[in-house]
């Protein structure tokens, strides 16, 4: 009798079933830092999209008469040596950072996933060639690799994206390779093969969807590193060069006037740091929200 009532009580007190999406949202919005990150990223996206409306001045053509102006009501963050408004360049720089971050991630993740998938699924000689090549690339620090590739390609937005894509590609390929190897061993893959499904169908309909959550987490966490690396390249003068608005090159330009106009260097650096921090926080949040091992704990 007691046993029965306990069971009944357990049944009635069982938590209501929540959908995966509801749980994802709840865990994601639980931490204040994740919300802070999301706010920063929203501001970044708004600045990037509405840059022409938000920027108070021309980011590319300055007024030489106002060269190196101190912060004032007219120029909130002052002007650089060419008389260009720093705040406007900062707002347009958000565009550069976002474009480089997202396009690089899409290229690197897409190609890396394909390479890892093929290497892991087919194995043998393809696996050896692809993964050894990835090892060769991975043995090198990301910034140095991007520096060498940029040296070959030259500066400019497009070339920075290619350089950073190649530099971050091995990470994606390696993770995807590992995931493919583990997903491939599942019974449903065997069942698919027994039913006569083609390799393409098994790879893209069964393996890829099951590897997406960790790949999404990796991509979000990589976004911050990519933006940091782009800033590094632009700082060295190899990435995006003035008059193009990139935060890294703005830090370098401002560095020369550190004594008279420290804000020229400080403001873009702070922007880089905030954005990278925001991507890391959101990445951590998504990781926790998608982690099946934390189900029931968070």
């Amino acid at each position: 009798m007691t046993e029965k009532s306990t069971t009944l009580q357990d049944f009635t007190e069982a938590p209501p079933r929540v959908s995966e999406w509801q749980r994802f949202r709840r865990v994601l919005f639980q931490r204040k830092l994740v919300i802070f990150g999301l706010v920063i990223l929203s501001l970044l996206i708004i600045s990037a999209i509405f840059a022409p409306l938000l920027a108070p001045g021309d980011p590319y053509n300055g007024n030489l008469a106002d060269s190196l102006a101190q912060p004032s009501w007219h120029y909130l963050l002052g002007t650089d040596i060419q008389g260009r408004d720093t705040l406007s360049r900062l707002i347009y720089g958000a565009r550069t950072a976002l474009i480089v971050g997202f396009v690089t991630t899409i290229f690197a993740a897409g190609l890396g996933m394909l390479l890892g998938l093929f290497a892991g699924y087919f194995g043998g000689i393809i696996d050896t060639i692809v993964m050894r090549a990835m090892d060769a690339l991975m043995g090198f620090p990301m910034l140095l690799l991007a520096l060498l590739i940029s040296a070959v390609l030259g500066s400019g937005l497009q070339n920075v994206i290619i350089a950073l894509s190649v530099a971050t590609l091995p990470g994606y390929a390696r993770v995807m390779h590992g995931l493919t190897l583990s997903v491939r061993e599942n019974d449903y893959i065997l069942a698919g093969k027994a039913m006569g499904s083609s390799s393409r169908r098994i790879m893209f309909n069964h393996i890829v969807p099951n590897t997406l959550p960790p790949m999404i987490v990796l991509s979000t966490l990589q976004l911050g590193s990519i933006i940091l690396a782009e800033a590094g390249l632009s700082f060295l003068g190899i990435g995006i060069r003035p008059p193009g608005a990139a935060w890294g090159s703005m830090v370098y330009d401002g560095y020369r006037f550190l004594i008279s106009n420290p804000v020229l260097s400080f403001a873009p650096g702070l922007a880089i740091m905030l954005v990278v921090f925001a991507f890391n926080m959101v990445g951590d949040g998504i990781r926790d929200a998608l982690d099946p091992r934390l189900r029931g704990i968070l």
Partner: protein
Amino acid sequence: MTTYIIRRLIQGVVILILMSLIVFFAMRLLPGDPLVIFMGQQASSGAMSEEAMAGFRHEYGLDKPIMVQYFTWIGGVFEGHLGKSIYYHQDVGALLRQRFPITLHLGLEAFILSNVIGVLLGVLAGIRRGTWIDAVSTTIANVGVTVPVFWLGILLIYVLGLKFHWLPIYGYTSPFTNFWMSFKQSIMPVFCLAITGMAYTARQTRSAMLEVIRQDYIRTAWSKGLRERTVIMKHALKNSLIPVITLLGIGLGMVFGGAVLVETVFAIPGVGRLLVTSVFSQDYVAVQSSTLVIAAIIIFCNLIVDISYGWFDPRIRYA
């Protein structure tokens, strides 16, 4: 174990050959001519005659077919000759010998600092979870991962160098020439080089520590009445360091990657600066050879890291 080391060494050589091919041919794809760039930087540019250019081209072996150039270079590398830099007019081996000790000096200090402080912060945050120590350590780790090192360098130069005049703002002095000056000059660059590695190590140590202190053998250690220091240092720390060791190899890469930026900010004549200058001047030989040397060092250190796993975790045995 010996078989494993030999296999890894062979793999390392294959990777190095692959890298040498990639770097060599990639550099040749560059538009522009290194000799023209070099001449352009000389005062008597422009007026260089065709014969003189051909002479230079011959001197640096640039008139030979590309495959011959590759094999001449790589053959030289095996004999210990890294080639002659077009820009510096010096042997690359000699250039690296001058600059490597500088990068190594700062890099090694940064490496030690980042690991000692990183592990310390991680352990404290792990065993005092939820306290102010944890909050401070996590904040430092978050800032360290996100701050652009070149910007941090500029910030430090502004505050410690220009405002308070406590530290010299650029340059490098060997500790054997003037120890005190060398120490003062190295504080800011070493901190900048160490911060990212420190942050990653602290994060990794903290999560590993949290994992380990929940294990049964730690409860046993506590129930035997051992002191906290013994439980943490002898039982928990060694086991929580295993995942941290993986970061040592990556940390080394970070030191070289960071050196490129930090040496630019602080005007330090190290390998990082050499690489940037060589890239700008399209100095084929210098870029190829320094890249190869850096890659060899990283591969060798990663091998040592992998071997050291066995010592830290006797469950790992290499076949």
